[in-house]
Amino acid sequence: MLTKDQIAQRISKEVKNGQYINLGIGIPTLVANYIPDDLEVVLQSENGLLGIGPFPTEDQIDPDLINAGKQTVTMAKGSALFNSAESFAMIRGGHVHLTILGAMEVSENGDISNWKIPGKMVKGMGGAMDLVASADNIIVAMQHCSRSGESKLLPDCSLPITGVRCVKKIVTDLAVLEISPKGGFVLLERAPGVSVEEIKDKTAGKLIVEGEVPEMIFE
């Protein structure tokens, strides 16, 4: 089973040179730590910053400079600042190449739920609905099962959905999976030491296994 950092590390391999990327809150934020130095990418923060830098040192902290998770950040070289309408123009206009976000559930046709649990306090969708409705390339980072052991990869989402048919790939603590255009989770890679059987057991939606499924490799 992968740690949260290993999930982030695996997702970092999906990043390509020259991409503009939006990272969601939680595990997706960690992906920034693993993007190889030889790749030139720009991180977009939907509250109005293109070019997120590392977290500040104590003497660099600026309360006027935060990311979408309200964490203090710095600006990378060549960054740009803008208002919220401009920010979502970039997102809806298809200018962001890769969106990585967390999820509570993903369905086998690529629907995602990550904003609301009925009966619990509703915190709001923030920018998630705009992101999933607009991005061409969405990768979900999440645990394969909930804390109570229920599969989060389902035939249909049981929670209110954030967007329809939008997820392309999922990286969990057990596996890397791709949404088949015809529906179903195509198993691409296994976490080290995790069997196909275990992944099958823990995937409630349709799992598609084609030939030998390789183990992930971590340098």
Binding site: Q71, M125, M129, A133
Partner: protein, 231 residues
């Protein structure tokens, strides 16, 4: 140049009535109009509908207005940082309209730009789409969303001049420029107020035409929600 200057926050918000629609800039606690919020707390008004991306925290920002029961309804995208908000919402004292963040920004922009409605993909197939007209463009579905306008908008900028021109700093810009334009009366509080002509026109983010009142604020606390540092 028309001089937009008022003395202070108290004078700026003195005529905001109960039951009006109020926009407030800010993302989290960054770029919120701290001085005007303090001045509003001293006014005996209630029944406000506030358009703001967030609802502050329990003891700061819009959270203070909620605590004093001045707010009837919040129109926001994310409100998860506030226990008093949760209590009022669950007890039915407070109404809330949750809107995808980009849709909120664009509805406010449209309000200021005189565009009554637009189509956006955010929320298609979700409960946000309930009761809304949808239409297909180039094979993809979009929802019809309408403009948002307010009786008053209150924004916070870094620098401003007596003509109402504004310059923002960092990610404190966020919703402020669109809200400036979408309020019938826009009140701007700034950290540094200078005479018209002292700001570089090339650097203005919000032209003074959108701003009706401006003053130099004081004692900015600029509270940080998630103080995150590099090791």
């Amino acid at each position: 140049m028309i001089n937009k200057t008022v003395k202070n926050a108290h004078e700026a918000v003195a005529d905001i009535p109960s039951n009006c629609m109020l926009m407030m800039g800010g993302f989290g606690l960054t770029g919120i109009p701290e001085n005007c919020i303090s001045a509003l707390l001293e006014r005996a008004i209630s029944g406000l509908t506030i358009v703001s991306n967030n609802a502050g925290v329990d003891d700061f920002g819009i959270g203070l207005l909620l605590k004093k029961r001045m707010v009837k309804k919040m129109i926001s995208s994310y409100v998860g940082e506030n226990a008093e908000f949760e209590r009022q919402l669950l007890s039915g004292e407070l109404e809330v309209d949750l809107i995808p963040q980009g849709t909120l920004a664009e509805r406010v922009r449209a309000g200021g730009a005189g565009i009554p409605a637009f189509f956006t993909p955010a929320g298609v197939g979700t409960e946000v789409a309930e009761g809304k007209e949808s239409r297909e463009f180039d094979g993809k579905m979009y929802l019809l969303e309408s403009w948002l306008k307010a009786d008053f908008s209150i924004v916070k900028a870094w620098k401003g001049d007596t003509a109402g021109n504004l310059i923002f700093k960092g990610t404190a810009r966020n919703f402020n420029p669109m809200m400036a334009a979408a309020g019938k009366i826009c009140i701007a509080e700034v950290e540094e107020l200078v005479e018209a002509g002292k700001l570089d026109p090339n650097q203005i983010h919000t032209p003074g035409i959108y701003v009706q009142r401006i003053f130099q604020g004081e004692n900015y606390e600029k509270r940080i929600e998630q103080r995150t540092v590099s090791k």
